[in-house]
């Protein structure tokens, strides 16, 4: 064991030297093969959040114990998770967006700390808490997208700033919350601010000097969306000229949202980067007639040029705030007797999609929570959901309260990433089980002011006393294999391992390990604060570790802290009627687990 780690180390050093001339892409493709490390937020370019490590397995995971802990010194909601590269762990925080490099050879001693000075006026234009979903590594640098949209390149060894680039303007409501991704010689980053009427985009900066290489907007004319009217396709059909303005009234696309605050994936063979776009602005659908392309869309773009190869709009003319930004998991699967390169995506709208990632063909679209009711099904040819009038907030109209819509605006699943185990063939998905009433009303746009236009109230899905489920999903069949109810929404990214164990965190603060085959709980430990971070694993000195950030907050902390309904605790109600604040409190902390 020691020997192989040593060898890996030597190989890594050799590779680092080579990468000075070679492209960062090769470096990362190599590095993600090394199971000891955790080199990008979702584990690898395919975003599987799967590790080959198997020292911790379903038989011994019950013996797990805390190895060491680290306080981040920040109280706000901690999304994302640390990276591990060789002997160093990189931990980030919500605003003020501190990055720590911790020495794994010395119980997490701080090697360096980077803390930017940012205008506190950025804080209130962040949607829901001041979260940040993590940093990226590439070419000896750590990349951070700060709340104020500064993209900064830090020397991974010293924390020294190599360059900075400005990706947006917080005065217009543009902020940074998502994690960058390094592809070849570029670092790619999205933008947040869907509730402020910004025009969303994905931008690529040169890793060498921080200059903008390309920017593809979600809405706008072809030269802004980087689309070819003939070659870019939607479900096999050419999108046509200026498809990013054609389904908007007048200039509305300019403040049309379609922000890109979720995750990216990359297929090195196809050289395509995949990501999703968020809600169209405003939340009042009556005010923006049309399909509102390309909000709520899965994009496949050429990583070098940004040109869109194919797109698929999941929720045309959104009426519920079902952002399409959740992670795109790349896998190879047999579907209907045919081997396919697929993309699997669990959308806020409650449908689990399986697409051919080469062509963008829609293969499977099924509900991953039976409570989902706003649409009956998705038409495989047109790709359109069959919307139920009763739950259509546009059909019901402005100033009408449409009731009983499932899921709620936070989606059957939000950004918390799922995991895929090639060993079990299953996807492990953290989900919400919450419904809502939604009343749209007219709003006017002012730059830098919220552009929302709907009132909503949320409550537990009918018949249940729980707000979340942790499920296993068969993406070829579009079926739930098993489902574990959780008292609160599961807002933590899952981890699957070759030890046949799946890990996730809960809002009360438990780190849980379950059997990959049947979901049986094998271990649980209550960390100091609610978990909205993603679980990681790595190996150091011949031992496997599992790491997770605690720190309740984010949309989950805002929505659930006080519970969703009248406090009926006195009447003996349980589950959904309880306030999250009676279980946990604020506080950013990293907890690292291992076997004795």
């Amino acid at each position: 064991m020691q020997k192989s780690v040593l060898l890996a180390g030597v190989a890594a050093i050799g590779m680092m030297a080579a990468s000075l001339s070679a492209q960062a892409n090769d470096e990362l493709v190599q590095m993600q093969q090394n199971k000891s490390d955790w080199v990008m937020p979702l584990g690898n370019y395919s975003s599987t959040r799967y590790s080959e490590l198997d020292q911790i397995n379903k038989d011994n995971v019950k013996d797990l114990r805390v190895a060491w802990t680290f306080s981040t010194g920040v109280l706000r909601g901690h999304e994302g998770g640390p990276l591990v590269i060789g002997d160093t762990m990189y931990v980030h925080t919500p605003f003020p967006n501190i990055v720590y490099a911790l020495d794994l050879n010395d119980n997490g001693r701080i090697i360096w700390k980077y803390e930017p000075k940012q205008d506190p006026d950025t804080i209130p234009v962040m949607c829901c808490d001041t979260v940040n979903r993590g940093v990226a590594y590439g070419n000896g640098m750590i990349f951070l997208h700060q709340a104020d949209t500064t993209l900064v390149a830090l020397d991974a060894k010293t924390g020294e700033v190599k360059w900075t680039a400005v990706n947006g303007d917080p005065k217009k409501g543009e902020t940074g919350t998502s994690a960058p991704m390094v592809i070849k010689d570029k670092v790619l980053i999205g933008i947040s601010g869907g509730e402020f009427g910004v025009q969303g985009h994905l931008s690529a900066y040169n890793i060498s000097d921080g200059k903008l290489a390309w920017r593809g907007y979600s809405t706008g004319p072809d030269d802004q969306t980087l689309m070819d009217p003939e070659k870019t396709t939607h479900l096999g059909q050419p999108v046509g000229k200026d498809s990013g303005t054609a389904t908007w009234e007048g200039d509305q696309w300019k403040i049309g949202g379609g922000t890109t605050w979720g995750w990216m994936s990359y297929d090195p063979e196809l050289n395509l980067v995949y990501y999703g776009t968020g809600n169209p602005s405003t939340w009042n659908p009556v005010q923006r007639p049309g399909d509102n392309r390309w909000s709520m869309t899965i994009f496949a773009r050429d990583a070098d040029t940004g040109m869109a190869k194919w797109v698929y709009q999941m929720t045309p003319h959104d009426e519920w705030d079902f952002d399409g930004v959740n992670e795109m998991i790349l896998a190879d699967k047999e579907i209907g007797g045919q081997q396919r390169k697929v993309l699997v995506h669990f959308d806020r709208n409650g449908f689990g999609y399986t697409l051919d990632r080469v062509t963008g063909e829609l293969l499977v679209a099924e509900k991953f929570d039976p409570a989902v009711n706003w649409a009956t099904e998705v038409d495989k040819t047109t790709g359109r959901p069959k919307v139920v009038d009763q739950f259509s907030t546009h059909h019901q109209g402005e100033d009408v309260n449409t009731t009983g819509i499932c899921p709620a605006a936070l989606g059957t699943k939000d950004q918390q990433p799922a995991a895929y185990s090639p060993k079990s063939g299953l996807f492990y998905v953290p989900t919400n089980h919450v419904c809502m009433d939604y009343e749209p009303f007219a709003v006017s746009y002012t730059a830098g002011q919220p552009y929302v236009g709907a009132t909503l109230s949320m409550y537990p899905a009918p018949g249940g006393d729980h707000l979340g489920n942790f499920i296993a999903w068969d993406a070829a069949e579009g079926k739930i294999v098993w489902s574990n109810p959780e008292p609160f929404s599961v807002w933590s990214g899952a981890l699957a391992t070759a030890g046949d164990v799946v890990f996730y965190g809960t809002l009360e603060g438990y780190l849980k390990a379950v059997d990959a085959a049947d979901g049986k709980e094998l271990y649980s430990f209550k960390t100091p604060s609610g978990i909205i971070g993603n679980v990681n694993t790595y190996e150091h000195g011949g031992k496997q570790y599992v790491a997770v950030l605690s720190g309740v907050g984010g949309w989950a902390g805002i929505g659930l802290a006080a519970g969703l309904t009248e406090d009926t605790a006195g009447l003996g109600a349980v589950g959904a009627y309880k306030a999250l604040s009676s279980y946990t409190n604020l506080g950013g902390q990293l907890t690292v687990f291992t076997l004795p």
Binding site: L75, P120, C128, S457, G553, A562, T565
Partner: protein
């Protein structure tokens, strides 16, 4: 500019207050035959558990502009204080002052920022209603969730606004 705005809103506020105070006193009369002494301080009107249009609109506006930080129904969140509790302490003027001008509480251990809504027209135009709703919640007169509305013909606030 900000001063101008504040004055304008203050005037609006006084007008609205008088309006609802009247309405409120009227409501009390209906209910138990005599005006309660504190009736004039209640910016809301409630009959049989049903609220006037202003309070109802305040709920809608609160959920649209304030929920994303203060949590559903003014009940507080992991991010910002429970306004249901705050209004037991803050008077109308203090409330308006914080919303118009914002408040920052930023230190090494805290990053707490209440935005200034002085320039946010949609918020300012509805601030008295938001106050009325939160006050009703704070006084324990309105529960969690969407409050039931008085029928139009029984709602003096609604009638008043239709006319103006």
């Amino acid at each position: 500019m900000l001063k101008d705005l504040r004055q304008r809103w203050a005037v609006l506020g006084v007008a609205a207050m008088t309006l609802v105070a009247l309405a409120s006193a009227h409501g009390q009369d209906q209910k138990d035959g005599q005006a309660a002494p504190e009736a004039a301080e209640k910016p809301y009107l409630i009959k049989d558990g049903k609220v006037d249009f202003g309070t109802y609109n305040g709920y809608r506006r609160y959920e649209a502009y304030c929920l994303r930080c203060h949590g559903p129904d003014g009940a507080g969140s992991s991010y910002a204080p429970a306004l249901v509790e705050s209004l037991k302490r803050l008077d109308h003027e203090q409330f308006t002052d914080v919303v118009v001008n914002g408040r920052k509480n930023v230190s090494t251990s805290q990053q707490s920022v209440m935005p200034a809504f002085g320039y946010a027209e949609d918020v300012m135009l509805n601030l008295e209603d938001i106050y009325a709703y939160l006050k009703a919640r704070s006084d324990g007169e309105v529960g969690r969730g969407r409050p039931a509305r008085l029928p139009k013909e029984q709602d003096p606030v609604y009638k008043e606004r239709q006319e103006s």
